[in-house]
């Protein structure tokens, strides 16, 4: 697929886009600087986000010491533990300490005395696997549906796909998840209802991934199908596409060589936005399917007022989302001729 999405500059079949073809290529240095700037902006955004999360956990009633205490623990014991956890220091100091550890991969220590990096090292790859598969499924299915709908604008398929997509995108993940469990696990017994793990901490079989991936991707497929369809419709109004249609090229050829390349930036942006939604939805979906991911760690950490763990989860997911957004920016830049 990627091969067909090459820059319009090399394949504009008519002279109509010649002006763009002649745009001068920017020097490499400038490009790197801009990329650096973009990275810095994203990093700053992440830092602000982390500070907000730290502050938000702080605002919840209670703190890690009493949230993880046992009934009957004395006030002295509590105070002692509070001191041990460093909770007696101002929140700003704790946040700064935590942030300065970040560059060397030190995510701090949880309220239960474990290294946060260790705590996240097992579930996070599982969540990435789930989110990654859901992202790929979303991309593949929404491209296919969007294109199918675009082949005959206003046709039966187009109307059916658009209506379904609108309906589906409004469904919360948990509704989809519960329905999937009911139909495919409890009624038909085709797929496992929950994910159980092996001795190595990963899902025991690939079938266990099917329902969680579907539950996550179905709402996003709805959303992205509409984006793909709309981007293709916009692109269809472009002069070179009209020319191609008048020239009598086959529909699929027009779609692949003339419509999709121009629509790529929009589609990339849509998919990138979905990454955040997918990782957010994973928290809910993981609970329903008992998936051994980061969602359960996050939920538990919020209950425990465990700021380093909450911030750690936000940091790693934030880094992934930032990475995907950056990638989408690059795809857009590449597709539209080198601008960042």
């Amino acid at each position: 697929m990627a091969g067909s999405l090459s820059s319009p500059a090399t394949q504009s079949p008519t002279g109509s886009a010649a002006g763009e073809d002649l745009r001068p290529t920017r020097p490499v240095l400038s490009w790197v600087l801009r990329l650096g700037g973009l990275l810095a902006r994203r990093a700053l955004l992440l830092a602000v986000l982390l500070a907000t999360v730290f502050a938000a956990v702080e605002l919840l009633p209670g703190d890690a010491a009493n949230a993880t205490s046992e009934r009957g623990e004395s006030a002295t014991d509590l105070a002692q533990r509070r001191e041990l956890l460093g909770l007696d220091r101002p929140v700003l100091t704790r946040f700064t300490d935590w942030m300065t550890g970040l560059p060397v991969g030190d995510l701090g220590t949880s309220a239960r005395g474990e290294s946060v990096a260790d705590l996240l090292s097992r579930p996070f790859p599982n969540t990435l696997l789930l989110g990654g598969l859901a992202l790929l499924t979303t991309l593949a299915v929404s491209l296919a549906l969007g294109c199918w709908a675009a082949l005959k604008p206003g046709g039966k398929a187009d109307r059916a796909v658009s209506a379904t997509a609108t309906g589906v995108l409004a469904l919360p993940e948990f509704v989809v998840a519960v329905a999937l469990v009911l139909v495919f696990a409890l009624w038909t017994d085709w797929l496992p209802a929950v994910t159980l793990t092996d001795a190595d901490g990963s899902p025991a079989s690939w079938q266990m991934l099917v329902l969680p991936v579907l539950a996550l991707s179905i709402p996003q497929i709805g959303w992205n199908t509409r984006i793909v369809r709309a981007a293709l419709a916009d692109e269809a109004k472009a002069p070179h596409v009209e020319t191609a249609v008048i020239d009598g090229l086959p529909r699929h050829r027009v779609l692949i060589h003339h419509l999709l390349p121009g629509a790529t930036p929009t589609i990339a942006a849509g998919i990138a936005t979905s990454t955040g939604m997918l990782l957010g939805g994973a928290v809910v979906v993981e609970t329903i399917f008992n998936y051994p991911g980061i969602g359960s760690v996050l939920a538990g950490a919020v209950t425990d007022r465990d700021s380093p763990v909450v911030a750690g989860v936000v940091a790693v997911t934030g880094a992934v989302i930032t990475g995907v957004l950056l990638l989408a920016d690059l795809v857009r830049a590449w597709a539209s001729g080198g601008r960042i």
């Binding site: 919840l60 009633p61 209670g62 009493n66 949230a67 993880t68 205490s69 046992e70 009934r71 009957g72 623990e73 004395s74 014991d77 002692q80 533990r81 949880s110 239960r112 705590l119 097992r122 579930p123 948990f174 519960v178 469990v181 009911l182 696990a185 409890l186 017994d189 496992p192 209802a193 929950v194 159980l196 793990t197 092996d198 001795a199 190595d200 901490g201 609970t287 329903i288 399917f289 008992n290 051994p292 359960s296 760690v297 939920a299 538990g300 950490a301 209950t303 425990d304 007022r305 465990d306 763990v309």
Partner: protein
């Protein structure tokens, strides 16, 4: 050892798919009658058990805070406690085969069971037990786990005897050694805890993120273990756990709650294991001060509540009516004290006598920590309105509740899981100087009865005093105990020999076997 509130955080209601499924599935038959008489226990098989827990709260330390059911289950199967909850007496032998008290009931001698060995073959010595108990005593909640027993008063006497000296006479001291007195080898380093050999019925094969596989300990001192292995699967939500059981991915859903039971009641291939007297959710009325300080007002509220309706609606019928005495599962529980029943007329006249201000609205504080707790408060408020008492239910976030309301509020809900001992709950929550005197209750007659109970060696004489203690509690304490919830496990039909004891009895899976 004392009941940990977080241990039941996850015992809540299964909703969603499970409930939907209930609405859509087969006939209305109750649970399958799996435990057919005359079936001979069979050796072999792997039991897959689902247990609630949170990934963030996993602990491997037998003396740490076990907030997760899954952790507690795994630790209990690998390591033995000195004693264990029992059916006929509330304390039964485990690693300690017997115990004996001095005449003043302060010095207790525990004998280690013959043939008790660690998984690596080393015999269990008194030194190991002493080291373990002292380690337990040294944890942050050690003082409440072994109250009245200082670390230096735990000593070995010979290779097989452990001596515990209490600061005061305590006839029920062995009760304290039932729950988290897990025994490890002496001088086990903190780093080695996760792999440390236990003495329990199962050996740890692997552990990963709350999931574990345990294999039979052929050499267990407590008798033959039938299962080849137990696989423990951690679940974050009761709903997912119920789904896993319904889909046949696990064999037992441990402590899954009433909502899941209601669902499973319609399934012939699922058995519901009820463990009576598992959880009390009393309403606490402050006796020390405030609007409920007058005993007549408290009596009126006790008469205004419709206990049957509470059990039926709040617990879905999976429970029994309470009589305002905590410790309903105790073999010495006073069943002969007449059951208090609803009497609105008497309640009204008592309120009038006490000059209770019925024009005011009183706040009842509660949390959603466990399933049914907030619902119990709401239903209670509706019921007492018929006696003229206006109550507004205020739900508090868990941390706030335990910080601001617990032990301090005028009217609030609480919950306790150690329902197998009247004395234990009296010592924790009702004796004047108890650390968790939830109602601020001070009653000299009660204190005297308590002291006499724990100081009386003769069982018959003690039972008599204990009866008196319960009468005072029934008449005057700050508790309104409307009912007690069953603990509920769900299991596939092939599973036999599951524990039916309340509270911590639920983790004793060494007698379980599979009929398939």
């Amino acid at each position: 050892m004392d009941f940990n509130r977080r241990q039941v955080l996850w015992a809540g209601g299964a909703i969603g798919a499970a409930a939907l499924l209930a609405a859509c599935s087969g006939d209305g038959d109750t649970s399958a009658k799996a435990n057919a008489a005359g079936t001979k226990p069979k050796k072999g098989g792997t039991l897959r058990v689902g247990a609630l827990g949170r990934a963030s709260a996993i602990t491997r330390d037998p003396h740490g805070t076990q907030a997760n059911e899954s952790d507690y289950l795994i630790i209990s199967l690998v390591h033995d406690t000195l004693t264990t909850p029992g059916a006929k007496t509330n304390t039964a032998p485990r690693l300690a085969s017997g115990w004996q008290a001095s005449d003043d009931l302060k010095t207790w001698r525990f004998t280690i069971a013959k043939g008790a060995k660690f998984h690596d073959g080393a015999p269990v010595t008194a030194e190991d037990v002493v080291w373990s108990l002292r380690r337990l005593r040294g944890t942050p909640s050690g003082a409440s786990r072994l109250p009245g027993i200082k670390a230096e008063n735990i000593k070995a006497d010979g290779p097989a005897t452990v001596v515990l000296v209490s600061d005061y006479a305590n006839a029920e001291l062995p009760l304290l050694t039932r729950l988290t007195t897990f025994v490890l080898k002496k001088d086990t380093k903190d780093k080695e805890i996760e792999k440390a050999p236990g003495t329990g019925p199962f050996k740890l094969e692997w552990f990963r993120s709350g999931n574990a596989r345990l294999v039979r300990n052929e050499d267990w001192h407590g008798g033959e273990v039938l299962l080849d292995a137990i696989e423990v699967k951690i679940f974050e939500s009761p709903q997912a756990m119920a789904n896993a059981l319904l889909a046949g991915q696990i064999d037992v859903a441990s402590n899954v709650g009433a909502v899941a039971a209601r669902t499973a009641a319609r399934r012939k291939d699922i058995q519901i294991v009820r463990r009576p007297n598992d959880m009390a959710m009393p309403i606490v009325m402050r006796t020390a001060s405030g609007p409920f300080a007058d005993p007549k007002v408290r009596e009126a509220l006790r008469l205004a509540v419709d206990r049957e309706a509470m059990v039926k609606q709040v617990l879905s019928g999976y429970g029994t009516v309470g009589n305002d005495i905590l410790g309903t599962g105790d073999p010495a529980y006073a069943k002969d004290i007449p059951q208090r029943v609803r009497d609105l007329a008497k309640a009204k006249s008592l309120l009038k006598e006490a000059g209770f201000d019925t024009s005011k609205t009183y706040k009842l504080l509660t949390t959603e920590d466990i399933s049914g707790l907030a619902e119990s408060a709401t239903l209670f408020a509706t019921q007492v309105r018929e006696a003229g008492v206006k109550i507004e239910v205020v739900k508090q976030e868990s941390a706030t509740f335990w910080d601001k309301t617990w032990l301090k509020g005028d009217l609030y809900t609480t919950y306790w899981g150690t329902n197998d001992s009247v004395v234990f709950l009296a010592s924790k929550t009702m004796v004047s100087d108890s650390g968790q005197n939830e109602a601020g209750w001070k009653n000299t007659a009660f204190d005297a009865a308590y002291r006499k109970t724990i100081g009386t060696k003769d069982a018959a004489a003690r039972a008599k005093v204990l009866r008196g203690l319960q009468q005072i509690e029934h008449d005057a304490s700050g508790y309104l105990l409307w009912g007690v919830a069953d603990g509920i496990d769900l299991a596939a039909t092939a599973v036999r020999g599951l524990p039916t004891l309340p509270g911590y009895g639920r983790v004793q899976l060494e007698r379980a076997w599979l009929a398939r």
